[in-house]
Amino acid sequence: MKRILIPLFYATLVRPWLKYIIGVRFENVKTLREAKQFIIIANHNSHFDTVSMMASLPPKHFLNTHPVAAGDYFSKTKVLDWVSKNILNTIHINRKREPGQTGQPSTIDVLNGLLKQGKSLVLFPEGSRGEPGVMSDFKSGIAVLLKRNPGLPFIPVYLVGFGRVLPKDKTLIVPLNCKVRYGESIIPDPTKSVEEILELTQDAVLSLRKRDERRYDKFAFN
């Protein structure tokens, strides 16, 4: 039931709403058609990022692709928990682990397990949403994952303008043009070090950024 209903919900309601009311444009999505399993790596400015990323996925990838979200934030209320797990298909992980805690597997292991099951992931390696228009350094976990899974491609995605539609700590969604831009998928060389792979992913995302689009990234000033 869920297999049919949720993609249908996206195709008939979420996608038209995003495209025609909010003004989201999906660029170069055809990259996804050829890919089988992948990790999508995107910059993160807004909660809207996750919704648009999921809406951009073709139906065949939809149920197999999981955005990775911070459990401490999304498990706060029952509604948010249900929506994020069922509608957005997210995997909740614990960002802050007590240093001495050993019972739980680490985040990397959880994600690695999912990849081994053949699932695809959507990751925002900046960690948190941060300042609009400013991309902070990636956390190294993504590179570790790629190194442990040789042959697994990653797809860089640059999100433009979502920080204005729904900034951090705001609830009012204001329609303004924004873009989800896919890059070509890249298979990193597993013999390279974690640092080199991390740099590769970061450069891949940054290379999708265009100079004259800076204006869409953030408001002129407060």
Partner: protein, 323 residues
């Protein structure tokens, strides 16, 4: 099934002959240009031909849109124009240098679109005329003031209402055309609407062609629209006025009224285009969006119509009151 066909036949018969003629001509022209551009693209494939095909496809979209607005029940047309107006508003707000504290005011601008088009749909003239120019123009600065941040507030207070004026108030006059009444004139709003859209579109084409034919001799506004020359502008105006006389059968206008309206639409078209170019140069962007490939965003296509519509409306409202 048969009832549906009957309904379609009734709808077809309800379209006046003149309107049918115009659409027949427009669609025939589009089919012809599509075939020519397709063959050109197959034989000599280059940048220009693919650009021409993109532009031609955009003209198809525009023609089909105008066909729906002109011949379907008026509610469909109102929804389409309201949606285009909404998208233009969003495009314009997206490229403008606004502040984070302007978000609520921007949101209210979007809410003003359905209200304004509802007023235009029911033809409540007084409400329609003052809703944006008076009520929204008071509400927006108050909301901005209440947001608490004063840095750059003057700029936002002028940018947001102006955008609302240009992208919502002015296009909404298009739907008010349907409420004008003339003696012994049966085509109503459809004819008047087609008249202004055809003239504004062809004025663009005329000015472009004349400018190219005459060569770049004396430029009008070299810093803003470098491809427009005095010769192209004047001959474009004359051609538009000529076309205005030629398609006078769509309207109740006399010979001189048609010349006046053709000239006014031509001048407004030129200045509308130049104004948007000036804004885009200030913001250092080429197109405002990419909804209609080859034309840029909605605004890039509507620029020549936007100022023309309200002026056209008020001139013919005056003419209607005379008759």
């Amino acid at each position: 099934m048969t009832r549906r066909i009957e309904k379609m036949i009734r709808w077809y018969n309800s379209i006046p002959e003149e309107i049918k003629l115009v659409f027949l001509f427009v669609f025939a022209l589009l089919i012809l240009t599509s075939i020519i551009f397709y063959i050109l693209d197959k034989t000599i494939h280059n940048h220009l031909t693919s650009d021409l095909i993109k532009r031609n496809n955009s003209w198809w979209k525009i023609a089909i849109g105008v066909f729906i607005i002109g011949t379907f029940p008026r509610i469909y047309g109102t929804i389409i124009v309201a949606f285009i107006s909404f998208s233009t508003l969003r495009e314009m707000l997206s490229i403008s240098p606004l502040r984070a504290s302007d978000r609520l005011a921007i949101f209210l601008c979007y809410l003003a679109v359905p209200i304004q088009f509802h007023l235009a749909y029911v033809g409540f003239y007084n409400g329609f005329i003052i809703f944006i120019t008076l009520i929204m123009f008071i509400i927006i600065p108050i909301i901005l003031m209440l947001s608490g941040s004063t840095k750059g507030i003057g700029r936002s207070m002028s940018i947001i209402p102006s955008i609302l004026l240009v992208t919502v108030y002015m296009p909404s006059h298009l739907m008010m055309l349907f409420h004008l009444e003339f003696k012994d004139f049966l085509l109503g709003g459809t004819g008047l609407l087609l008249y202004v859209i055809i003239l504004a579109s062809f004025n663009d084409i005329f000015q472009y062609i004349w400018g190219k034919l005459l060569g770049n001799k004396k430029k009008m506004l070299p810093k803003i629209v470098p491809d427009r020359t005095y010769g192209g502008f004047l001959l474009g105006l004359i051609s538009t006025a000529g076309l205005a006389i030629l398609i006078r059968f769509l309207t109740p206008f006399t010979f001189w009224q048609a010349i006046l309206l053709g000239t006014v639409i031509g001048i407004c078209g030129f200045f509308g285009d130049a104004l948007l170019q000036a804004i885009k140069r200030d913001l250092k962007i080429r197109d405002t969006g990419s909804v209609l490939p080859g034309h840029g965003g909605f605004l890039d296509r509507l620029d020549s119509l936007i100022i023309a519509i309200p002026i056209y409306y008020h001139i013919i409202r005056y003419i209607a009151n005379l008759s």
